[in-house]
Every structure is written in C-alpha cells, then in structure tokens.
C-alpha cells in the first residue's frame, strides 16, 4: 500500500482522538462508524454478475463469471469458487508490474478463507453432474483506488456481485450412458445464488488502547495490529485473521471480536436492504456506471 511516513505529531493527534472520552476521528466519525458507501450492481454487461463499490475514495469493481468445468477430485459433488484480485496500477503507481501482487494474494486468500465453508455459500447447488460437470465461479476483484479498508470493501463488493449473479438454467438429458447438458438461453430462465449467509469482512484496527472500524489510510499507518473477521448476518464468524506487526492482548481480542460481530451484523443487514431496494427500483433505474 502507498506508504507515507506520517509525523509523530500527526499520529498523536489521531491517537488522542480515538482515546478521547467522546471519540472523534479526523473526519468526525466515532470509532464504530463506516464512511459513506455507494454501490451499484450489474455494471459490467458480459459477466454473470458484477458490482462496483465506492467506500469514501476506495473504489472496487467485482465481476463474477460462471463457467462450466470439472469438479475437483477432492469434492466431486460441489462446484468451485475462485478469487482473483488485481491491484491496478491506476490505484497507485506502486502497484505497477508485480508491485501489487503481495497485497492481491493477501486479499484473495482472506476472501477465499471466508467463503471456504458450505454454510456461507452453498457450492453443492453449483454441481450439475457429480464428478463430471459443475459451475465454477471466477470472482475477479479489481482495485481501482485505495483509500484504506480494502478488505472490507472487497468483501462487500463480492457479496453484492454474488447477489447480482445469474446462472443459466441447465437441464441434463441422459441418453444411454452419455450425459448431455443443455444450457437455457432464455435470459430470464436463470438461477440465483443464495447469499443470505455470505460473510462480510470487518477489519478492526487497534490504535493505542482502542480499536476502530473502517480505518482511513492515515489511521492504518498508526495501527499496530488488525483483526479481520468474516461475519455473517447470523453473527457467526467464518474466518478470523490477525494481521500486522504488532501483537494483541487476549482481552482486547475478545473485545474486538464482540465489536466486529455487532458491526458485521449491521453491515450485512444494511447491505442486503440496499441491494433489495436497488432491485425493486428495477428497470426504471439507469445504470450510472463509472461516471460520478
């Protein structure tokens, strides 16, 4: 990430702001407030599902492409989901060449770990013929601009894109021993994914003795250790990861987890509400796309 060296005094200013009795962050938020988010689904026409998320000036585009493939031998009766994150050099010149690779693999491993259980996304429903044919969901996350809190933003984008995903209906005809697959080409004869229990990542940044959500880039520079949690709408935790070069007291980890769980539930519900609302507005809605 774009690493700017901040001065002691600037860091102290942020630190004290969070430690205050009535916490006031640089932009006036409290410790548990997210910045303004805007989301739009169905922005890329040649994907099975897509979404674009702006979280303050973090900008993320997610595309889902469903393709037919062979299930892996270890789990023959379910489909696959694969994450690929691309850190565009548009976001910061440091990502040029292989510069963004490290961050990209980090985001994609955390995402795939969040979705690596059957409760969060039912991969079995993606199987067509066990051992032979299944849907593989390729999820591409493109990072257009970084303004902090990339993990949360990426996971929200992914969830929205999955909500938007439509997979063509498939009928299997059995002739003798040969299985034949027929893809429906009716654009309305489609299946949707159940994302009601898909997780969103909540990153809690430990700054001084307290923790905040949705840290800005400047706050990330002050933070010693972060706890990333994949939280579902039910409040279960699908993945947990401590990150950063500092260590954490067990007590504060439990505190952070408590906060994360609470915020994660709010985040999931608000996201689902917005997505449903957007869908209701239906065809009247004009795609805004990439222009502001």
């Amino acid at each position: 990430m774009a690493d700017v060296n901040y001065s002691e005094a600037e860091k102290t200013f942020i630190l004290h702001g969070i430690q205050d009795k009535f916490p006031c962050r640089e932009d006036g938020r409290g410790c548990e407030d997210y910045r303004h988010m805007e989301i739009e689904t169905g922005v890329v026409s040649n994907t099975s599902g897509s979404a674009r998320l702006r979280l303050a000036n973090t900008d993320i585009l997610v595309g889902v492409k469903a393709e037919l493939g062979v299930p892996s031998p270890e789990k023959p009766d379910s489909g696959c989901i694969e994450f690929f994150v691309d850190c565009s050099a548009n976001a910061t010149p440091e990502f040029e060449g292989r510069g963004g690779e490290e961050l990209a693999t980090e985001i994609s491993t955390v995402l795939s770990r969040c979705y690596d259980n059957s409760g969060c996304l039912d991969l079995k429903s993606l199987c067509i013929i066990p051992k032979q044919q299944c849907w593989i969901l390729y999820i591409d996350v493109l990072l257009l601009e970084c303004g902090g809190n990339l993990f949360d933003a990426a996971s929200i984008g992914v969830k929205a894109a999955l909500y938007n995903t439509r997979i063509p209906n498939v009928t299997v005809n059995q002739e003798d021993d040969e299985m034949e697959i027929e893809l429906s080409d009716d654009p309305y004869d489609v299946n949707r994914l159940d994302i009601s229990s898909s997780p969103c990542i909540v990153t809690l940044s430990k700054i001084g003795h307290y923790h905040v959500v949705d840290a800005s880039q400047k706050e990330e520079a002050c933070c010693l250790a972060r706890l990333m949690m994949g939280v579902t709408a039910k409040g279960t935790i699908s993945a947990l990861k401590k990150e950063g070069w500092g260590s954490l007291n067990p007590e504060s980890i439990f505190d952070m987890m408590e906060t994360g769980k609470k915020i994660g539930q709010v985040l999931n519900t608000s996201l689902l509400n917005v997505l449903e609302e957007e869908e209701k507005s239906g065809n009247k809605r004009k795609t805004v796309g990439f222009l502001k």
């Binding site: 060296n5 005094a9 600037e10 200013f13 004290h16 205050d20 640089e26 938020r29 805007e38 805004v288």
Partner: protein, 294 residues
C-alpha cells in the same frame, strides 16, 4: 453505536448540473491557436509554431500586459518565489532535507535556510549537521516559503521566520493547487478555535489555535498533550468543510471556509460525509455569497 451508511448509486439525489453552467470564457485545449499576433510574449502553457501562439494545456487563457499564459484546471504545483507551501520531509541528505511539496520535483530545504533552536543568527556547526535528523526527520511536516526556483524547476525553501517551521498536531488535506486563492496572508487564526495554513501547493493544514506570542518557536518544541474534544470537533468540521468546497470546485480562502463552516453547523460533523449534505451546504454558501456579492 455503529452506523453503516450505504446506498445504491441510483438512490443518489439528482445531479446538481441542472442549472446550466455559465460558459467559461477563453477556454482552450492543446493545439488551439490563441493569437496570430506576434506582439505577445509566450508564457506557461503555450508554444509558438509558424509565428502563431498555440495552447499546450487545457485551461483558461490569462493575459498580463504582453504576456499570455494558459492556466490549467488541474495540475501539479508550479512554484513561485514567495509562495507559502506545506511539505513533508522525505529524506535527510547532506546538509539538506528533501521535501515533498506536490510539485514536479522534490523541493529542497537547506540546513542554512532554517532557523535552528536557540537564536536566529547562529552559525551552523558540524554538530548541527549531525543533528539534522533530530530537528526534522522523515515524515515530519513543515510550513515554509519558496526562496528560489532552480534551473530545473526544483524549489528551494526556507523557514527563516518564526511563523514557518515544523508543524505539530493537526490534520493535513491535499487539494488541487489551483483552488487556493493567492492572498496576502495564508495563515489564519479562525474565530471558531482553530488555525489553518493554506499552502499555495494545495496542502491545507488545520490545527488547534496557536498563540502567536508564545507558540511561534519554529515548532521544535512540540506539544503532544491531548487536544480538547471541542477543538477536535472544530478541526474535523473544518476539514470536512474544506473538502466539500474542493469537491464542488469552489475557490478556497478564509471567507469561503468560514461560510462553509457556519453553514455546516446545521449538521453533525459525521453527516458531512454524506453527499447530499455537502451539496446542501454548498447551496447555502452560494446563496450567501450572491447575497453579499462576494
């Protein structure tokens, strides 16, 4: 109490460009012929070809007597002698610091052009050279004045006045340099309880009020005491006000900032992050400016 402010793009309020934007005069794009008259002098953003003066950047044509320039809408900072700038130390070198000032090249602050603690006219000893990182280290912010522009466009800075120097607690914003209005003074102690420095390079520094009598020491002694909560809220509100102004391409100077600040008092600081709130604030400012004719 946690808040998650999320919405879909379609729910965004109507675009504010319904009012027809006034046609801007003298707007040119690269290659446009500005004049065929050979009596003019070629300034920034222009070039001569076949005895005609062409624009080389997109922007507004400006004329000062015989000199014609094109001022681009968005650009890196082009330094001028006497400008107040804010910069961040990025490297400590031999007898100089390299400073990032959002200009084309990194600016230079010589050890000989800073005030050192303990007297303005002290000689720089070898001891001082060794202590350079002690005075200013990587990451520190300074306010300074452009002393000189070198052949390659690199700015040489100085802090030889007590109002310049290392900055303490506060928050830094970066906006387009062309939005900063050039004024007599760029240091303002605002009545609401905070100070701002409007750097010509587009960097704006907001900090708790400084007492000019006692605090102007060049910043070598830093006050790291916690800032009171009310002041902190003022700083955050000012930050959001300035960003709102910059977002709507309004010129930034002390009056416009104060207007924005006063207009924003209707809302909580947190709400100012929402786009509809900012446009409402901007509307209020525009109305007030029209009323007062500024």
């Amino acid at each position: 109490m946690a808040t998650v402010d999320i919405r879909f793009v379609g729910a965004r309020g109507k675009k504010d460009n319904i009012e027809t934007v006034e046609e801007i005069q003298n707007l040119v794009t690269p290659g446009d012929i500005i004049t065929t008259d050979t009596g003019f002098m070629r300034g920034h953003g222009t070039f001569m070809e076949n005895e005609k003066l062409h624009a080389s950047v997109a922007g507004v044509v400006e004329r000062v007597n015989k000199l014609i320039c094109v001022k681009p809408l968005k650009t890196r900072y082009n330094g001028e002698i006497g400008d107040v700038v804010i910069g961040r130390i990025i490297e400590v070198c031999q007898r100089r610091w390299k400073v990032e000032t959002h200009s084309k090249l990194n600016s230079v602050l010589m050890l000989s052009s800073v005030n050192l603690p303990g007297g303005e006219l002290r000689r720089r000893s070898e001891e001082d050279e060794k202590l350079m990182r002690h005075y200013l280290k990587e990451g520190d912010l300074i306010s300074a004045e452009v002393q000189n522009i070198m052949g390659d466009g690199c700015l040489s800075l100085h802090t030889r006045s007590l109002k310049y120097g290392k900055l303490g607690q506060g928050t830094l914003l970066s906006i387009s340099p062309s939005l900063i209005k050039r004024r007599k003074t760029h240091f303002h102690n605002l009545p609401c309880g905070a100070s701002i420095i409007l750097g010509n390079n587009g960097y704006v520094w907001i900090s708790p009020n400084v007492n000019e009598e006692t605090d102007n020491t060049g910043g070598y002694e830093q006050n790291l005491e916690p800032v009171p909560n009310d002041v902190r809220i003022v700083v955050a509100r000012l930050r959001n006000s300035i960003l709102a102004l910059a977002d709507h391409h309004m010129i930034i100077y002390d009056t416009s900032i104060m207007y924005a600040y006063e207009a924003s008092l209707l809302f909580t600081v947190k709400d100012m992050l929402k786009p509809e709130v900012t446009s409402e604030i901007i509307d209020l400012i525009q109305q007030r400016m029209e009323l007062e004719g500024t």
